[in-house]
């Protein structure tokens, strides 16, 4: 990266700056002539009644001459304005391109930082620097040449004019400029110093906010919100005081500038007046100079602002860049390069010679490690935590470069390979899963996206960027790859058919026993767009399900089917009323009674008063049951119909009126009561509030709702239809076409077993997993549990079939029961390929061919499990569990 902003501007935009300069110079003649023309109009067209009126060699009459000049004036104004417009847009484009280039370079630097550097940088600060602080720099780039050229030119023109009127007056006009040139920068430097502090403080703020988000659970756990508020308030206070000091200085500068500008007329009137009295100059010339001086102040101010900006921007640029320069930045070629060939890791020798890894403090974390391992092999690294296991696994995975020594595979140095080539062969799994936002499938295939895939049948061009996008990317030195192109390199795995890909993904999930979880998510998912052909097969499964339920009374009592003619006692009142799935937000189930159409239907069947009464009864019960519970009790969330904050509101309703006099309530109070029963599930809550008569009327409301639905709402509900697939409902609801009943022993388990059986019979189980793979798992996949995330992280590496898999305590976060099973499954999957596993549990080392014991950064023993076990320095009890 360029060390100063001028070098940056010159290197990447000198051509554009020249164009800007040319455009600026071009705009002077029209400007000049548009000032000149009025004089011509007044003196010649209006002031001279005799002519001749000649324009461009044509002899015209007076009126034509006048209009021709006016037209010319208009034309010049248009040309001048047009040029200015073009100049502004062009300068804007140049600025934005440079901004894009700068951000891209900074982001690239982030990718090039050595891993250890991330322990020292704050995420929040990086975000602040790349996003916010570069903004001002970009704006400056567009002005860098244009402003001094244009404003300086204007200033010079006017000054020349003034000197030509009278040198003394000209001198008077600029007499105080040296004073400004001397004082203003001094003050400005102080302002800039403060501005620097402000930048640092704002960065600290950004860091604080991002840390708060990361540690939000800790804050709540420890109840330290007050402390955090105090800290943040203090930081805001710091910014306030800095800004306060800046304002004092900044406006002092402004005061000085204004004062000096106003001193001009003082000199003109005093000196100029004296000259006029003594007859040295004409009054007209003095007036002209005073008028010109007025025009002078604008460009002069602009130039001063430019100068202030210049200084500010220079500092900002250097301050930002300094954060992104690191002596050990990896060469870009290593990150994206494809040249050279990667050695085969499938067999041969992995050789570690005299490997040393130093910490920042200079201490050795790994020291003099020498290994010679014949591949393929399953190798365990054991030893106390902090003994160098983690670091050695990172070095062997190629992620951390050693301070001294080499790691070679069949003679090729591991750390000289480019990342894509290395990643093709080696995978690494750490003890904490790091996943990205997106679907489960996105995460699963992430490891296959090393380069855009070219030439396969469906995707002819590897660089599918639109020409316009490509041109711009090129102009700002950005990546020319299209992120929307096909990046998943299935071909490298030899998987060309879509079914093969799905089964490879399912296989990877199965190794870590995540297939069941994804299947369960698939049951809750909806059919993805473009897979409508599955609907008919799922309908087939629904028919089979219904047949099974009908034939077996033991099963049929576990499911209450959706029946257009019957009230479903295992569904909420809202679900019974709608008898379908809302599409979009029009008929949100939580706010159903608030919708005017729903309201009108309820009114027609006379349900409103009854439901308000039910709401009153419900409120009575809730107030009785929950009155003595603290507001943060989990029962509110799980069981209450009323949020703790709303409890006093309902209490006051109950106190003010009895159930017979609900008409006395205000309409918004009745509305709140009306909302309550819509969440009631007859079979679950067993409150006896929705009796058969009421159910009957809800059914008639259901019928009316559907019959009268205005066409404008037609798409807002997907109604349940026994013969149709409901695209808005989940797979499970569609196949089961009913609700699993409350109150039957193990109803859920048994119904799900039946579902699985029927889906498997119809060859739909993988389809359900496929739908589950499309589940969006939130930011950092936070919707999955920690073990699920770790399993997904493992499956991601399993899927890409590395020749060597390096793991560091990769199964540590799994439940004790699953840990062994998953480890064995991974080792089994990697049979014939190499595994290097840094184990937290020494006992598991017996599953490996070769065991290396690390202590205080040194290899203290190695060999087979039995050999190492004899090693005296390993405390025997550690091995007891394995035997």
């Amino acid at each position: 990266m360029e060390p100063t902003i001028f070098r940056f501007i010159l290197k990447y935009s000198w051509r554009q700056q020249l164009i800007i300069l040319a455009l600026t110079l071009l705009s002077f003649p029209p400007l000049y002539y548009s000032l000149e023309l009025p004089k011509l109009i007044i003196n010649r067209a209006l002031g001279d009644p005799d002519g001749p009126w000649v324009l461009f060699g044509y002899d015209l009459d007076r009126t034509h001459y006048l209009f021709a000049l006016c037209g010319l004036f208009l034309l010049l104004v248009l040309i001048g304005g047009g040029l200015k417009y073009v100049l502004n847009v062009y300068a804007g484009i140049v600025a934005e391109r440079m901004l894009r280039r700068l951000r891209y370079q900074l982001y690239q630097s982030v990718l090039r930082f050595p891993l250890a550097h991330f322990r020292k940088v704050s995420q929040g600060e990086l975000v602040q620097m790349i996003n916010a602080e570069t903004e001002a720099l970009g704006g400056f780039v567009g002005d860098a040449v244009a402003v001094p050229a244009f404003q300086g030119g204007t200033l010079l023109t006017i000054l020349t004019f003034m000197f030509m009127q009278d040198p003394t007056l000209g001198l008077a006009a600029i007499a105080l400029y040296p004073l400004q040139i001397y004082f203003v920068p001094k003050l400005q430097r102080q302002v800039n110093e403060l501005a620097k502090q402000r930048i640092r403080q704002v960065r600290r703020n950004a860091e604080r906010i991002s840390e708060t988000c990361t540690a939000i659970r800790e804050i709540h756990t420890h109840g330290t919100a007050r402390y955090e508020l105090a800290r943040f308030s203090r930081q805001l206070g710091e910014i306030f005081w800095i800004r306060f000091a800046i304002y004092k200085k900044k406006f002092l500068i402004k005061f000085l500038n204004n004062f000096i500008a106003q001193l001009g007329p003082f000199f003109f009137f005093s000196i100029g007046g004296w000259l006029v009295i003594h007859g040295d100059i004409t009054l007209g010339a003095l007036v002209a100079v005073v008028a010109a001086h007025k025009d002078l102040s604008a460009p002069w101010k602009e130039l001063l602002t430019y100068y202030q900006n210049l200084y500010d921007v220079r500092v900002k640029y250097e301050q930002t860049i300094s954060q992104f320069v690191h002596p050990d930045l990896q060469p870009l070629e290593r990150l994206v390069g494809e040249s050279g060939s990667s050695p085969s890791f499938s067999n041969g020798v992995l050789k570690v010679t005299d490997l040393t890894l130093k910490e920042d403090s200079g201490e050795n974390i790994l020291e003099g490690i020498a290994l010679e391992l014949t591949l393929p092999a399953h190798i365990a690294l054991i030893g106390p935590a902090g003994g160098g296991r983690e670091e050695l696994s990172l070095v062997l995975a190629g992620l951390v470069s050693p301070s001294a020594g080499r790691v070679t595979v069949n003679g090729v140095a591991l750390h000289e390979l480019s990342e894509p080539l290395r990643a093709e062969k080696i995978a690494f799994i750490a003890n904490q899963p790091i996943l990205l936002s997106g679907t489960i499938a996105d995460n699963l295939v992430y490891g296959l996206k090393r380069r855009p895939v070219s030439g396969s049948a469906g995707n002819p061009a590897p660089h599918g960027l639109q020409p316009r996008e490509r041109r711009e990317a090129l102009a700002s030195g950005n990546s020319l790859d299209d992120p929307n192109a096909e990046w998943i390199d299935w071909e490298a795995l030899g998987l060309s058919a879509p079914e093969q890909r799905l089964s490879a993904m399912i296989h990877a999930l199965r190794v870590v026993a995540l297939d069941r979880d994804v299947y369960a998510l698939g049951l809750k998912g909806v059919l993805p767009p473009g897979r409508e052909e599955l609907a008919s097969r799922l309908l087939e499964a629904r028919r089979a399900m219904r047949a099974r339920l009908a034939s077996d009374p033991r099963l049929s009592r576990l499911v209450e089917p959706f029946d257009p003619e019957r009230y479903n006692t295992n569904a909420t009142v809202a679900e019974n009323l709608l008898f379908g799935h809302p599409v979009g937000r029009v008929f949100d189930l939580h706010r159903l009674p608030a919708h005017p159409y729903v309201r009108s239907i309820l009114n027609e069947v006379g349900l409103i008063d009854d439901l308000v009464r039910v709401g009153y009864r419900l409120a009575e019960m809730m107030v009785e049951l929950f009155a003595n519970l603290p507001a943060d009790h989990e029962y509110y969330r799980q069981f209450s119909f009323i949020a703790p904050d709303d409890l006093p509101f309902f209490k006051s309703i109950l106190q003010r009126t009895t159930i017979d006099r609900l008409d006395r309530l205000k309409s918004h109070e009745r509305d709140r009561l009306l909302e309550l029963p819509f969440k009631l599930v007859v079979a679950r809550h067993r409150l006896g509030l929705i009796d058969e008569e009421l159910q009957h009327r809800i059914l008639s409301a259901r019928r009316r709702f559907r019959e009268r639905l205005p066409p404008s709402y037609a798409g807002a509900v997907a109604f349940f239809d026994p013969e149709r697939y409901n695209p808005a409902a989940s797979v499970q609801e569609n196949v089961l076409f009913g609700k699993i009943v409350y109150g039957q022993a193990q109803a859920h388990e048994r119904v799900h077993a039946l579902l699985l059986e029927i889906l498997a019979q119809h060859d739909l189980k993988d389809t359900v997993i496929e739908i589950g793979l499309q589940t969006d798992c939130g930011v950092g996949c936070s919707r999955l549990s920690l073990p699920q995330r770790q399993k997904l992280a493992i499956a991601r590496e399993i899927l890409r079939r590395p020749q060597m898999l390096v793991l560091h305590e990769a199964t540590a976060v799994l439940d004790a029961i699953e840990r062994d099973a998953v480890r064995s499954a991974i080792l089994n999957e990697m049979k014939g390929r190499s595994v290097i596993w840094s184990l937290e549990d020494h006992a598991a080392a017996h599953q490996f061919d070769h065991v290396i014991v690390l202590e205080r950064g040194r290899v203290v023993a190695q060999g087979t499990f039995a050999e190492v076990r004899e090693h005296a320095r390993i405390p025997p009890p550690v091995f007891e569990a394995a035997s």
């Binding site: 069981f639 409350y742 109150g743 022993a745």
Partner: protein, 157 residues
């Protein structure tokens, strides 16, 4: 069966006899009503325990696995509570319970039961008393059995 009738059933259980009705109502409301058909398992010995059951209607048999096979050790009837040990001390189910008739129960989830015990000391005292009584009976029976065992041994010698 409505909440009101479950509440009456709960109040008839000695364990809850002295508990304030509002709190019992909350317990009933937050618990699940679960029915079993004859022959269905309520819980299986060795499984992790996540809930206790209060029998509202019907009967169930309690079996314990022994080296000689399953042995029936008790018959549960209306108002009995089963499964609370696994909840309280976090051990797997100590016995297998099978419905012998159509069985209606109130399933009290582990958390709900623990909440009740921790938040309402009177329930905790009741549970303690009940368990202490059982422990007393068990100890007594154990001493009887050991005595018998010793007598059989001496008579054999």
């Amino acid at each position: 069966m409505t909440l009101r009738r479950e509440l009456e059933a709960l109040r008839a259980i000695p364990l809850f006899a002295k508990v304030d009705p509002t709190r019992l109502k909350l317990l009933a409301f937050t618990s699940e009503h679960v029915e079993f058909e004859p022959g269905e398992l309520v819980c299986r010995q060795g499984d992790p325990g996540d809930a206790a059951y209060i029998l509202l209607e019907g009967e169930a048999d309690v079996f314990v696995d022994t080296p000689e096979g399953q042995v029936r050790v008790a018959r549960l009837k209306k108002d009995d509570i089963v499964g609370e040990i696994a909840i309280l001390c976090g051990v797997p189910r100590t016995a297998t319970v099978v419905a012998t008739t159509h069985l209606r129960t109130l399933k009290i989830a582990k958390q709900g039961f623990l909440n009740l015990v921790t938040q309402f000391p009177e329930v905790a005292v009741e549970v303690m008393q009940e368990l202490a009584t059982r422990l007393y009976h068990t100890t007594q029976r154990l001493s009887e059995v050991s005595l018998k065992l010793a007598q059989t041994k001496t008579s054999r010698e």
